[in-house]
Symmetry: C2
Subunit: 290 residues, 2 copies
């Protein structure tokens, strides 16, 4: 394991690349069709640019696909074409927050083009510090991805089944981001109903952990737009096993609503964060009933 | 304040009656149309039976309506008829978990029949011990209901607006029971997907509070059937302010699903509680996809 391709070095991807580079690997990316912000992050992380997807799949020992869920399928198709053109048997890990049935489809795209596919999912923040982030992996080639443990990543292998690594991510994020959406929904309603102070007083008596948790809500809006697709993948995961998809369809609604506000125009690097009160007042002001 | 009518002395109502009686009030109920279990709970609590709704509204200084949400409207209509027949100006507190717009409608039913209406909502468990349960009250007559503070109840008055006490309950229960439903949804899915152990291992690393919280899930099924209507009232509350009702429609789905299982046949008095593992296996077995 010498060279890792990152597709693409956004918020999560460039931090992963930076970490692998710091542990001695060469990290490459093809950036022609990426945003100026992603190009800037890649440069900052010391990620080398290669001139085409063909070069990417020929030079890399493994490609990590780290994108928003809606882009995962198209990215795999692009790589599959490069695999056919070059005849390489690249190890390709889809690390995106997608439903197991979506991963299975993506896996088929890669393997039918001659690649070796690993289902992977990332739980935790961009891996700046030790022990906070895990790259769950499943599928018969998952052990090969786990070689990245020698280069600063934590890669627990769950099983031989494509879909299992995605499933754990769906259930995990369904809880954390589902709860964040639920909090947002209820607090905007409480503010609109004029009883938010009374609710916080009651939480102070009986739900102190919740009162503390919601203080973190103002960091969510810059991430809301990319969480819409993730919530839709979770809803699809629930529907596929026969459980209700409505929770996470509702969560997608909330993130769409927040994403349509000016609050979502901030980037995570922007130091100016609104207070919870400011955030709620702004969101109430943008309700269709006002 | 000498005599309190309880409509009806179920799980919550009989405990409220028992507490008021222990603090020196006379507590009455009309039980002709109630279940054998409710009649038994009333007797145990020392609640006196009166022969008709007319007697109830004539003898009581205040009637507390404590029912499942779906019965709240019909109960108010029954009381309104008794108010018209007897010409009394009863103080009537709707304590049910209903949407503000539902409370406003119920209040109209009572005031048009000559009664005085208080919007009330109960947050906390049946009030067996001091300080754990609050009866939030709003409306111009809320101060009169607060006289019950001399008899062992905690009755914070929020405002003069009918609907505010209901609103705080909707937002509070929307969180607590919404989160319980979300946990159930995701854990049944995790069990069905075969990754529940891996998810719990991950929670052990990064979501310890959640791991602890879900251990309490097996106490939920006996309450699931009556929570369906409450979730529907919360969904209606969200829709009325322009927020997404889908979360709580999903929560209603979950409680309907759990309520259809044998797990929901237990009563809260039954000491035999399944383990979380047993509960999840049974629920997965009843999925439509199995």
């Amino acid at each position: 394991m010498k060279t890792v391709g990152i597709l693409s070095p956004g918020d999560m991807g460039h931090t992963v690349g930076e970490r692998l580079k710091a542990h001695g690997l060469r990290v490459i990316a093809h950036l022609a069709d990426r945003s100026a912000r992603t190009r800037g992050l890649a440069e900052k992380a010391g990620i080398e640019e290669v001139d085409s997807y063909d070069s990417l799949v020929e030079m890399a020992d493994v490609v990590l696909c780290i994108l928003v869920p809606a882009e995962a399928g198209a990215a795999a198709l692009t790589v599959a074409k490069a695999l056919r053109r070059t005849g390489t048997d690249l190890l390709y890990a889809d690390c995106n927050a997608v439903a197991p049935q979506t991963t299975i489809k993506i896996g088929r795209t890669i393997t039918e083009a001659g690649g070796r596919f690993v289902d992977a999912s990332i739980i935790g923040p961009p891996p700046r510090r030790e022990g906070a982030t895990r790259f769950y992996a499943s599928g018969v080639h998952a052990g090969k991805l786990a070689k990245l443990e020698d280069y600063g990543l934590d890669v627990p292998v769950i099983s031989d089944n494509i879909g299992d690594a995605s499933a754990i991510k769906m259930c995990y994020a369904g809880m954390t981001k589902g709860l964040t959406a639920l909090c947002t929904n209820l607090l905007v309603a409480a503010e609109a109903l004029g009883i938010r102070d009374a609710l916080f007083d009651e939480w102070g008596l009986s739900q102190e952990a919740m009162l503390k948790r919601v203080q973190g809500l103002p960091s969510m809006p810059p991430k809301s737009r990319r969480w819409v697709g993730e919530m839709e993948e979770i809803a699809a995961t629930m529907a596929a096993v026969g459980m209700s998809p409505k929770f996470h369809e509702g969560a997608a609604d909330i993130y769409r609503f927040v994403g349509a506000s000016a609050l979502a125009d901030r980037t995570p690097e922007d130091p100016e964060e609104p207070s919870l009160e400011e955030m709620l007042k702004l969101l109430v002001g943008s309700l269709p009933t006002r």
